[in-house]
């Protein structure tokens, strides 16, 4: 690895330094372009030498991301990025590891690896580009597609309940759950920085528009006409406020969220729910601002860091266990291992 003196001496990298020499081949208008741009924009700020960064991706449109970053990288097989990244990080904990998947890659074929990655808590970052559709295979419904979704393989509409990825991650003991979207570059940059800073597996769901097979799925959260009513930007220590001109807020009645109009009945921002991203119970409630309404009330979709928790990472725990063992038992010589405890000699 590059030593610190060398890092300090080196000129600061730019977004361009992170672009590989490969031509980017996503469809025109794809949300992936914005994500690539934001990643390349924020990476110089992280101060990590390029050679210490590794991208691991699975299969799908999103997974091609790896080829476009001038870092180390592996474009692997469908659903398995999490497993490959686990071995990589276990062997060399000093690397900055980033994973890129789509919703099919992460939650369908890779669903088992996803949940186990969350609980194991390697210190790495998992960006899931959710477009609620299979793009590379040309338009089948995905595990995040809404019920009723008409797609190539569901001409009469999907009969399946979709995953709510934030809830799934929380249920699997994720230590960092966040959501952003392709059409909000500044917000995405903020979330990427938070993910990078977090020690543990940072799960970042990014709503990404697929202009070819699922155009406009998330426009309600990004377009001027609807954005303020349909989305809520949450921030640690700040009240939950949304709506036109911030005219609405959310407060908690027991464990039941309630929407209040701040212009009516003397409601004040001081009475609102203050977001505490370390509170897991409340994180579950926020993650539940999804398709399932509370008390028949439709809640805005939350963006930002829903949950974060500092806990020991897999590689840290493994390192401590090994150090403790070495201190207690020492390192046996290979000769000792070869002979074992019980031998006999023939003269």
């Amino acid at each position: 690895m590059t030593n610190i003196a060398e890092q300090e001496a080196a000129p600061k990298l730019t977004a361009k330094d992170f672009a590989s020499n490969q031509e980017v081949k996503w469809c025109p208008g794809c949300g992936d372009y914005s994500i690539l741009k934001q990643v390349q924009t924020v990476f110089p700020d992280f101060g990590v030498p390029k050679e210490n960064i590794v991208f691991i991706s699975g299969i799908g449109c999103a997974a091609r991301f790896t080829y476009y970053m001038d870092t180390y990288g592996m474009h692997s097989i469908h659903g398995r990025a999490a497993a490959i990244a686990s071995g990589l990080k276990a062997l060399n904990p000093d690397l900055s590891v980033w994973m890129v998947s789509g919703d099919g890659d992460a939650f369908s074929i890779g669903g088992n690896h996803f949940i186990h990655l969350m609980r194991k808590n390697f210190d790495l970052n998992y960006l899931v580009f959710n477009n609620e559709i299979y793009g590379l295979t040309k338009g089948q419904y995905s595990p995040t597609s809404g019920k009723g979704k008409v797609a190539k393989s569901t001409p009469y509409g999907s009969v399946e309940e979709p995953f709510n990825p934030s809830e799934l991650a929380l249920g699997a003991k994720s230590s960092f759950v966040a959501r952003s979207l392709d059409r909000d570059p500044k917000h995405m940059q903020m979330v990427l920085k938070r993910a990078n800073d977090h020690k543990g597996t940072s799960f970042v769901e990014i709503y990404q528009n697929c202009p070819v097979f699922n155009d406009g799925t998330f426009f309600a959260y990004s377009e001027k006409e609807t954005k303020q009513e349909q989305s809520i930007y949450i921030e640690h220590g700040k009240p939950l406020i949304f709506g036109n001109g911030g005219n609405k807020g959310i407060k908690l009645d027991g464990t039941m969220p309630v929407i209040v109009n701040l212009n009516e009945n003397g409601n004040s921002a001081n009475d609102l729910w203050i977001h505490d991203e370390h509170d897991k119970t409340k994180a579950h409630i926020i993650a539940g601002f999804f398709d399932t309404p509370y008390n028949d009330v439709h809640f805005p979709r939350p963006f930002g860091v829903i949950y974060s928790e500092e806990r020991s990472t897999y590689e840290q725990s493994m390192k401590e266990q090994i150090e403790e063992l070495v201190a207690r038992k020492g390192r046996p010589s290979l000769d000792k291992i070869l002979s074992g405890d019980k031998t006999w000699t023939i003269l």
């Binding site: 030498p49 990288g73 592996m74 474009h75 097989i77 497993a83 071995g87 060399n92 074992g340 023939i346």
Partner: protein, 624 residues
Amino acid sequence: MELIVEKPGHDTTLIEADSIVIRFSGDSGDGMQLTGTQFTDTAAFLGNDLSTFPEFPAEIRAPIGTTAGVSGFQVHFGSKEIFTPGDEYDVLVAMNSAALKVDLARLKKGGIVIVNTAGFDKKNLGLAGYPDGANPLEDGTLDNYTVHKIDVTKFTKECLAGSGLGMKEIERSKNMFVLGLLFWMFDEPMDYTISFINEKFAKKQDIADANIKTLKAGWNFGDHTEIFTTRFRVAPAQLPKGTYRNISGNHATAIGLVAASELSGLPLFLGSYPITPASDVLHELSKYKTSNVKTLQAEDEIAAICAAIGASYAGGLGVTTTSGPGMSLKTEALGLATILEIPLIVINIQRGGPSTGLPTKTEQSDLLQAMYGRHGEGPLPIVAASSPADCFNTVLEAVRIAVEHMTPVIVLTDGYIANGSEPWRFPTKDQLSPINVTFATEPNGPDGTYLPYKRDEKLSRPWAKPGTKGLMHRIGGLEKQQDTGNVSYDAKNHEAMTKLRAAKIEKIADYIPLAKPDSGKETGKLAVLGWGSTSGAIKTAVRELMAEGYEVAHIHLHHLNPFPKNLGELLSAYDNVLIPEMNCGQLLALVRAKYLIPAIGLSKVQGLPFTTSELKKKILEILK
């Protein structure tokens, strides 16, 4: 060969035997594996050569007393070289009716059978499936054998009356009574087992005392009662000078990996998912965390191999261990590792298949899967271990090929040698050759670029690990352009890369030893060509026939892909080639296809290894 040497103590005859086979057989809960292991370790310490064959049911606790629950441990020990656990046994210990029913068939005519009569009451006879009223102890079934009927359960209870132990714990000690009796019969000391018991129950002195008391009671029973008129002594074997240990195949596999890690300087990473009979390698390696070893019990077989691929990409020695069904699950990822051209060790400890098949029984039926079981054209090197101790050498060879030729390597062992054990004259570190690993540190292309798929004289590519300045590159499952490794859909490039990958594997033949007979001459009437765990049985059969004057030879393959360069030429020097396999003829198909010779197969798919007599019979049939 037996020789009466003396008449000691009470009226007993001491017979010197050059080899003895004992089968300990009982219910899964009767402690037969432990009894067998203790007897084996003691024999090993006395300098006998030996071979063991533990055989147990797939169920952890099958219904008590039934034939499904019979657990056996066979040990063959001798003053001569021993290569198999023996076709038939000289002594059968049957702890219950079911054990006798299952295992009597392979007791030598005139052999000794020791039965625990408590296991032959009406209930046990019924559980074993004997018809109402039938009892093999009384109906003449055992007329051709020397029978010792002992109520082991009763003696154990009497011995431990007043010990303060519960009835369950007392009954559990009955295997020690039998072990003590066997030690007396074979003139072996109890010291090793006594120290083992004291270590094992260091914190439960009452249990330790009870076991030792029962062990000694068994010995004294032989010594004082006049039931036994014969004792046996097996002199130490004339093994090559040196220091030995007893080792099972799975244990040898595990420490082979630790050794490979140290010899190559690569940190070892094992990704594995529990599966019989491979789990012991995961268990064993997990103990070596202080030796630069990291183990990860993955969420499934797929994650296990993928994590190992990740570790290899990071510059480690990535390993995954499994058995048949797990191997199938790993296949897709093995395709990735093949196109990545990355070192990786995949160890398949074969068992009876397909599907769950016979999880605790042995088979060699995954050779063609190893050879061809991938989508696309994806040949890989295959090596196979021929005995428990040989698992060590085989793993070292696999790692050498993997890192020197930048390729995944498949290692095949099987349940028979994985669980079986033998004395091993283990090497010291300085007797092992280092494994050469070179990581790329400098650009190798024009204008300071790095070409991850530029090939050397072995057609192997460089290995640059993440963290190396200036060598950033992307690899993946998509077809690559030669040299640059960039994604390429070019038709001609794909064909060239496909052929290059195959040629690289074929070229490994330049770096492995030529084939030569293990026994016999380089020409003759018949060569037996074997691979894997059949080695001991073939060696014994061929040597016996050679001693009888037959022109036979034994050639054993350690490299299954590529074959040694001279194999075709060597085989054509014999009038006949016989290929015995615990499958339906997989190596046979490969050899016939490659060398166009009319090799003859001998197939056995019973979950059991070949016996020497089965092989001799087939050889003689061909020679007629």
